[in-house]
C-alpha cells in the first residue's frame, strides 16, 4: 500500500467565523501554524515506517508505549486538532446554543442532570488540568454513559497505552496556545465563552454514530 500523505484539513468555517470568542488572527496561528506543523512533522516522522500506510484514525489506535515520540505527539496533535475544529461552528452573537434532542442529550441528562451540569463538569476538569492537554467526552459500544477525560499533551484515549476505553467524540483544547492570545491567563473565561461555539449537532452525531458503535470518529476526508 502506498504511504499516506497527511494533510491539514480545511476549517469548516472562515477564520473570522468564531469571532468574537476566538479572533481571526488567533485561529490563523492555531490552524495555520500549530496544526500545520503537526501535519508536516507527522509526515516526516512516519517516512519508511509501516504505520505510514494507515489513516490517521487507524494510526492513533496503533500507538503504544513503543511508538517513537515524534510519531505519537504529531499524530495525536493532528487528530486532536482535526476533531477540535469539527466541534465548533460559526458563532451567532447572543444566540442560545442548546444541545439538540436525541440520544446524546438523554445521556447528558442521565449522567449530568442537565446541559449546565455537563458544562460545569467539563469546566472543572479543564481548570484542574495542570499543564497542557485536552478535555474529551468519551463513550463506547459497551458504555453509553458519557465520561469526561482529562488527558495531557497530545495523547488520546484511542492510544493503546492511555488509560480509558472510550472513543472521544468531543475535544476541547486546553493548551495555552488555544486561548492565550484571546484570554491570556483567564482559562475559565475561555471555557465559558467557548460553549457559545460548540457544535452540539456534530457532537451528538459523533456520539450516536461513532462512539456508541465503538468506531474512532473519522476526521479526515481521505
Amino acid at each position: 500500500m502506498p504511504d499516506m500523505e497527511y494533510e491539514l484539513p480545511a476549517l469548516p468555517y472562515a477564520y473570522d467565523a468564531l469571532e468574537p470568542v476566538l479572533k481571526q488572527s488567533s485561529l490563523k496561528i492555531h490552524h495555520g501554524d500549530h496544526h500545520r506543523i503537526y501535519v508536516e512533522k507527522l509526515n516526516a516522522a512516519v517516512k519508511g515506517l509501516s504505520v505510514a500506510t494507515k489513516s490517521i484514525e487507524d494510526m492513533l489506535a496503533c500507538i503504544d508505549a513503543s511508538t517513537p515520540k515524534a510519531v505519537r505527539n504529531n499524530a495525536g496533535g493532528h487528530y486532536n486538532h482535526s476533531l477540535f475544529w469539527l466541534c465548533m461552528k460559526a458563532h451567532k452573537a447572543d444566540a442560545v446554543n442548546p444541545i439538540p434532542e436525541g440520544r446524546f442529550l438523554s445521556s447528558v441528562h442521565n449522567s449530568f442532570r442537565s446541559e449546565e451540569g455537563l458544562k460545569c463538569k467539563i469546566k472543572d476538569a479543564a481548570l484542574s488540568l495542570c499543564g497542557s492537554g485536552w478535555i474529551y467526552l468519551t463513550a463506547n459500544a459497551k458504555r453509553a454513559e458519557i465520561c469526561i477525560e482529562s488527558i495531557y499533551n497530545q495523547d488520546s484515549p484511542i492510544m493503546q497505552d492511555v488509560p480509558g476505553d472510550g472513543v472521544p467524540f468531543f475535544a476541547l483544547d486546553i493548551w495555552e496556545h488555544a486561548y492565550y492570545l484571546d484570554y491570556t491567563f483567564k482559562r475559565a473565561e475561555y471555557i465559558d465563552r467557548w460553549f457559545g461555539l460548540t457544535d452540539w449537532g456534530f457532537v451528538s452525531d459523533a456520539y450516536e454514530n461513532w462512539a456508541l458503535k465503538g468506531s474512532v470518529v473519522r476526521v479526515s476526508r481521505l
Binding site: I29, D33, H34, I37, K69, N73, C130, G131, S132, G133, Y152, N153, Q154, W175, E176, H177, Y180, L181, T184, F185
Partner: protein
C-alpha cells in the same frame, strides 16, 4: 495541694495545654507564602521578554501558584489535625503543582536580569567547559532540551551533588527540579506557552534563543557556589 494537683485541675490544665498547643501550631502553619519582589521593572528584559508577558507572568501566573499553595497548605494542616491520612495524600498533586510553580518562578525571576553582556567566569566557566566543552555547547544543549519539552515544563541546568558535575534535565509541568531529580537548580528556562506566547507565538525556539541575552550569570554562579559548598 494546689488546684493543679487535684484531679479536676489536672484534667482542665491538660485540656487547655493541648488546645493551646494545637492553636499555636495552627497559627504557625498558617504563615503564608508570598510573591517575592521582582528585582527589576517589568520592561527590564525587553526586547527579549516583553513587559506585557512579565506583568502577566508575575502578577497572575506566579501569584496564583502562591495563593493556591497557601490554600493547599491550609487544607493540609486541617487534614493533619484530624489525622485524615487519605485527605493528606489527596493534597499531594496540588502541593506539587503549586509548590513547584512557586519554587520554579521564584528561581526564574532571579535567574534573569537586564542584558549585561556578561558571561560566566571563574569556577562556573571552568565547570561548564569541563562538562559541556564550552559555554556555546551548554547553550545549544540546554536550548535543544528546552525546545523539545512536550507540552508544558521547564529546561534546567542543574548541579549533581553526588558527581559534582553540571547536568541538563527537563521536568514536566511544574515539577520542581530538586524534589524530582535531586539536582540543585542553577538556571531554568520556563517553556510553558504563557512564558512566551504573546510575543513569540508558536516559535518557541526564538524565545529560547533570546532568553540567553537576559541570563543573570551572577545569580547562576552564586547558586553554583552554594550548591558546591552545601
Amino acid at each position: 495541694m494546689n488546684f493543679r494537683g487535684t484531679m479536676l485541675g489536672k484534667i482542665l490544665w491538660q485540656g487547655v495545654t493541648s488546645r493551646h498547643l494545637t492553636a499555636i501550631w495552627s497559627i504557625s502553619s498558617r504563615s503564608k507564602h508570598k510573591l517575592p519582589d521582582l528585582p527589576y521593572d517589568f520592561n527590564a528584559l525587553e526586547p527579549y521578554i516583553s513587559a506585557e508577558i512579565m506583568k502577566i507572568h508575575y502578577e497572575k501566573h506566579h501569584a496564583t501558584y502562591v495563593s493556591n499553595l497557601n490554600v493547599a497548605e491550609e487544607k493540609l494542616g486541617e487534614a493533619k489535625a484530624k489525622g485524615d491520612i487519605s485527605a493528606v495524600i489527596a493534597l499531594a498533586p496540588a502541593l506539587r503543582f503549586n509548590g513547584g510553580g512557586h519554587i520554579n518562578h521564584s528561581i526564574f525571576w532571579q535567574n534573569l536580569g537586564p542584558k549585561s553582556g556578561e558571561e560566566p567566569t571563574d569556577d562556573l566557566k571552568s565547570a561548564i567547559e569541563l562538562d559541556f566543552g564550552s559555554i556555546e555547547n551548554l547553550k545549544i544543549q540546554l536550548s535543544t532540551a528546552s525546545i523539545a519539552v512536550q507540552g508544558s515544563g521547564w529546561g534546567w541546568l542543574g548541579y549533581n551533588r553526588q558527581s559534582g558535575r553540571l547536568q541538563i534535565a527537563v521536568c514536566p509541568n511544574q515539577d520542581p527540579l530538586e524534589a524530582t531529580t535531586g539536582l540543585v537548580p542553577l538556571f531554568g528556562i520556563d517553556v510553558w506557552e504563557h512564558a512566551y506566547y504573546l510575543q513569540y507565538k508558536n516559535v518557541r525556539p526564538d524565545y529560547v534563543k533570546a532568553i540567553w541575552n537576559v541570563a543573570n550569570w551572577s545569580d547562576i554562579a552564586s547558586r553554583f557556589a552554594k550548591a558546591k559548598s552545601g
